[in-house]
Symmetry: C2
Subunit: 385 residues, 2 copies
């Protein structure tokens, strides 16, 4: 890799020491971050890195691509599972994820955000996420008769769900009843679910299949699930794919990585440093100076305010909780990293802290709880003025 | 991995032979595909896999996640680079890609689609894509004076581009002139590019910087580039990020993998097979039966029609070109795979085949050249009727 870099034309004036440095590169900086799973809001600093300039720059793109993508998918999963009102949501979207690694990362983020599991078996293997699957259309189409496919599937997967929409959902359920096949549930994957699900439920109930559950899938998102739940559609669980693993309606989380302060040695004296705050003034892209902390104020078990303040401010509101914690100190991990299960628990607990206004499906109707401290506001006004 | 699968609850009724089979699994099927870089249209079968059912199923999700994502990004890159009318477009979107692997795959797909390079150095290392970079805002902010950052950067990267919008683009250009810094170009990354670019150009030209080029970036997509080019904005190259690497306005390519035919042994006679065609009838998700070929008809150097027909049809239009080629025969690669550079060349040649109607930026105004053969149309009508 280093010799590749040496060969790249733009690096031809680079000092040889740089390549030697890269060979021995180790991140020795300090990292503050909100615990994974924490609910955060726009404009909040969620990671703070203190490191020599070169180290802080080398990690930038990797940090952004991991945090932006997974935070976005966790948020989407949290929105979707909230709308499902306690009914299990399974992540089904590997085939539409942005490549195989994105599929595994999306499964991870979806699980944190409240999904019960994934159909991605690699994510199960690597991360211990519960794996769920149902049969594929092609399995059914591999048999000349649909009922033959159902019977053979249930022999191997007695607790499985039968996919009924390959040809006609209601006709398929009639076959299940006629041939006395007893699956754990059926899955509806197309059509108007708010009308097919009640029909399917009635047909099953009338024939002694009260225990047979109904799973719904097929381009679902939080809005459709909200609609189905409100209409009282008799659906017991949801499979969500493309809309979740790509965050289809907004596939970009614009998290940025900004230089906010620089410490430079005072002239002729390398033991003392002066610090200056930095910020951008580009139109529409102003950045906020100085190392910051988020102080969360909780009242009656609900988030009342997140006060974004400079790290060295003295007047801290009583009882406020600083969200950024030190995870890495001079290159060493100093806070035990939670398991995936624990991260998910943190997130589910955090959901309970959201006041009604911040649970609204339509984000434009929400009021942000984020406030900047007086000191920070004054600095920002000076920059913008 | 196998022992993980054995441990998963849903597999507890699975025959032990299945796990033994997986251990020795090797894909021994046959794969037909259109050459990578070929322009294809909705509803065309771009890959055809002939394999034992279990092999064809095991590869499904991986094949879909690789082809869906990269085809989507290549299409987006092709749209963007077409609008740039020959001006270089560099892919800049790693930090917003869906994870680190998606960033490399997006760089690859963007290069095929017509981009000149990427800022992802790993993609340069692994795939030989030309790497381009410009300075970062944080590099500039690391210095107390902007001009100091410019001077130091140009010492190491004499052919580099200076990023001028950290504080004020025009003021930064004035500093470049005042301090007699001679970069290869400048980069504008914010503001109304159609008004800033002409101002920057005039300022540079009036001061003997006629050779200093202007690169533009900042949430650009094909529509904005179209607008800038039409307005005659004096921009020499474009950097495109999030909009490209996530295909922001449509981040899902709904390519599907469907079973179209099954060969089963005739009863009591394992040397002869009968074949039956399969298809789905789910509402809105009908699939088309039978193994197919795309026959492309080119007239006067332009695509006139793509005839999707059954593979065994006899009346092939004279001079039509079958697009699906055999790449893998019983598990062995039988067609030499092209280099990335060759794939890109194929695509750029293919762009020349597009008639005016198919180059329209607004896809709703286009007319698809795809026609189904009479035999296939009749079969589809029978299914739907």
């Amino acid at each position: 890799q280093i010799s590749y870099l040496r060969s790249v034309d733009v690096f031809k004036n680079m000092h040889q020491d740089f390549f030697k440095y890269l060979k021995k590169f180790k991140f020795k900086g300090t990292v503050w971050a909100v615990p994974e799973g924490t609910i955060v809001f726009p404009y909040e600093p969620i990671v703070r890195i203190e490191a020599p300039m070169i180290e802080s720059q080398i990690v930038e793109t990797f940090v952004l691509s991991m945090i932006n993508f997974q935070s976005m998918i966790s948020s989407k999963a949290s929105r979707i599972s909230t709308q499902a009102k306690g009914k299990p949501v399974i992540e089904f979207g590997s085939r539409r994820a942005h490549g195989p690694q994105a599929a595994v990362l999306a499964a991870r983020a979806s699980y944190i955000g409240g999904c019960e599991g994934t159909s991605n078996v690699l994510a199960g293997y690597e991360l211990g996420i519960p794996v769920h699957g149902t049969m594929a259309h092609s399995f059914i189409m591999g048999f000349e008769k649909e009922e033959e496919a159902f019977k053979r599937f249930i022999e191997v997967f007695p607790t499985g769900y039968l996919l009924v929409d390959t040809y006609d959902s209601i006709a398929a359920i009639q076959k299940i009843i006629k041939f006395k096949i007893h699956p754990n549930g059926i899955r509806l994957d197309s059509g108007d679910l708010s009308s097919v699900a009640p029909k399917a439920r009635r047909l099953l109930d009338r024939n002694g299949y009260e225990d047979c559950r109904i799973m719904a899938s097929g381009d679902l998102n939080e809005y459709q699930i909200h609609h189905l739940i409100r209409k009282g559609a008799p659906i017991d669980s949801f499979g969500v794919g493309s809309e979740l693993t790509t965050s289809r309606d907004d596939p970009v989380m614009s998290g940025v990585y900004k230089l906010v302060a620089v410490k430079i040695p005072r002239a002729q004296d390398t033991t003392h440093y002066k610090t200056f705050y930095t910020f951008k003034k580009s139109p529409g892209k102003v950045s906020y100076p100085g190392p910051k902390q988020i102080l969360r104020i909780i009242r009656d078990g609900l988030i009342k305010m997140d006060l974004v303040s400079l790290d060295n401010e003295k007047n801290i509101p009583k009882g406020s909780i600083p969200l950024l914690k030190k995870y890495v100190d001079n290159g060493n991990i100093v806070t035990k990293l939670p398991t995936l299960q624990e991260i998910r628990e943190i997130h589910l607990q955090q959901q309970l802290l959201l006041p009604r206004n911040l649970r609204l499906l339509n984000v434009t109707q929400r009021t942000s709880p984020v406030t900047f401290s007086n000191k920070l506001s004054t600095m920002i006004q000076k920059i913008q003025g």
